[in-house]
């Protein structure tokens, strides 16, 4: 079971790879769209990369609920 810190670090690397945002700026309260330059298309990439990295399934219906990095971290921890 991954810890919150491990999942946050992993997501930060993914967001850095896809959107070019420095990993230290990827924080729990940040909005993907408003703060991290991750638009709806890039969010699909983030989701696919996160599924692969954390061995979790994130259904399309669930993606719209993942507004902040914290939302995604919690979902991954609960469903991994």
């Amino acid at each position: 079971m991954a810890t919150q810190t491990e999942v946050l670090e992993g997501l930060a690397e993914i967001v850095n790879e896809i959107a070019g945002i420095p990993t230290e700026d990827v924080e729990l309260d940040k909005s993907f769209t408003d703060d991290l330059d991750v638009d709806s298309l890039s969010m699909v990439e983030v989701v696919v990369a996160a599924e692969e990295r954390f061995g979790v399934k994130i259904p399309d219906d669930e993606v719209k609920n993942l507004k902040t990095v914290g939302d995604a971290v919690n979902y991954i921890i609960e469903n991994a």
């Binding site: 896809i18 959107a19 070019g20 330059d37 298309l41 890039s42 699909v44 990439e45 696919v48 599924e51």
Partner: protein
């Protein structure tokens, strides 16, 4: 504001080409008579009938940040780099949509064409689908592969709201885009238009497909000598990649902001062959009608024309037909016209050709210097015209004009005219 037939001028240029990653290095390469063609070193090229091409001198990934580059097809990457250069060269510092901009975004357009569109994205993502499955296909695939993607991305970059367009006519696409942009300004739809052509089709499928049409040079052992327009031993075109973009502007708009003007963009002549889907009309009749259309609908004297940047792709039929057409329309005056086939150096950029060759034509007028045509070791007896070979040729003083020809599979003929100011 909407006066008909306003004068249009060129105020900015940008080029990302096999000879250099900007307009200055491109021009330097042309004047030096340098070839941008090389052997393809990729593993996939090993067993192909054609193993040469003219890659861009600089990799776009060295210029664009990776998060941006991964959302753009290679053709859009080229267009964006060339458009940024042209935009800055024209003296614009921000997108028209910025609050600090003095330019009205609803008076700014973008017209960028490619002949084939995002073909490498399409083919690469099909490989991803087959090899890695549904989930791994990039959500950016559609906006990357659509042929209007370079135009749309350039439009976003500069903040164009008067209209963003993508004419497609195979190898005439880039020139058609610039012609369309000239008309947007002349007719009053826009004051400023960023226009050009781009192409990125160096991939095994397009290479094999063109090769199976017997259209490409198979001179794999001598890459730098393979593109040889007008030479008796020419055996087809060499595929190139890159983009050329210009900023066009109404003369009044350019004058009001004190912009540097390279030359006037006089207008275009258009025709179509109705002859064959891929063969050029052998007598040059279609091309001749495009040239006639240019002179019929623009205030341009044949005597002013002293230079032609020819389409001349190095195919046996096409090069000859184009010169016949020029002879038919310009008559004895053609003896006083310096003709350059810059594809001898850059290869054939398909939809990008009209873009980079417009930049070359603009710079030829601005510098009063016609680039050489390289590899003309033995001039074809059927080429009855003054081909610039060896050293670049100084062009005359006074008011002079130049033509840029582009023709495409499907029988599309586009002739653009530019003139010193």
């Amino acid at each position: 504001m909407t006066a008909e037939n306003r004068t249009v001028v060129v105020t900015g240029i940008g080029a990302f080409t096999p000879l250099g990653g900007d307009a200055a290095s491109f021009w330097q390469g042309l004047i030096e008579g340098r070839s941008g063609v090389a052997a393809l070193t990729e593993e996939w090229a090993t067993d192909l009938p054609v193993r040469i091409a003219a890659r861009t001198a600089v990799e776009p990934g060295e210029i664009l940040p990776r998060p941006l580059a991964r959302k753009l097809d290679r053709s859009a990457q080229f267009a964006l780099i060339a458009a940024r250069e042209a935009w800055a060269d024209a003296g614009y510092e921000t997108p028209a949509t910025d609050d600090s901009s003095k330019l009205d975004p609803t008076r700014l357009g973008a017209v960028i064409a490619s002949g084939i569109g995002g073909v490498t994205t399409l083919l690469d993502q099909y490989d991803v689908l087959k090899e890695q499955g549904v989930r791994k296909v990039s959500p950016h695939t559609v906006p990357m592969l659509m042929p209007n993607s370079p135009a749309a991305n350039v439009g976003l970059e500069v903040g164009a709201r008067a209209g963003v367009h993508t004419p497609v006519s195979a190898c005439a696409s880039g020139a058609e885009a610039i012609g369309y942009a000239i008309e947007m300004i002349r007719s009053g739809r826009a004051d400023v238009v960023v226009a050009g052509g781009t192409e990125a089709a160096i991939h095994p499928l397009p290479i094999v497909a063109f090769s199976n049409m017997m259209a490409m040079s198979k001179n794999n052992d001598a890459p730098q000598h393979a593109s040889r327009p007008y030479d008796k031993n020419r055996d087809g075109f060499v595929l190139g990649e890159g983009a050329g973009v210009v900023v066009l502007e109404s003369a009044e708009h350019a004058a009001a902001r004190g912009a540097r003007v390279y030359c006037e963009a006089v207008g275009q002549g258009l025709s179509s062959d109705a002859h064959h889907i891929a063969q050029p009309e052998p007598t040059g009749a279609g091309v001749a009608r495009a040239i006639a259309d240019l002179f019929a609908h623009n205030e341009l004297d044949k005597a002013e024309v002293v230079h032609v940047n020819a389409h001349a792709t190095s195919t046996p039929q096409g090069d000859t037909a184009e010169v016949k057409a020029l002879r038919k329309e310009l008559g004895e005056h053609l003896d006083h016209v310096a003709i350059s086939a810059t594809k001898s150096m850059t290869g054939h950029l398909l939809g990008g050709a009209g873009g980079i060759e417009t930049v070359a034509t603009v710079l030829a007028l601005y510098n009063r210097l016609a680039p050489p045509t390289i590899n003309v070791d033995d001039l074809d007896d059927d080429i009855d015209a003054d081909i610039v070979t060896g050293e670049p040729r100084t062009l005359p003083e006074g008011r002079i004009a130049a033509l840029n020809n582009s023709f495409g599979f499907g029988g599309h003929n586009v002739v653009l005219a530019f003139r010193t100011v």
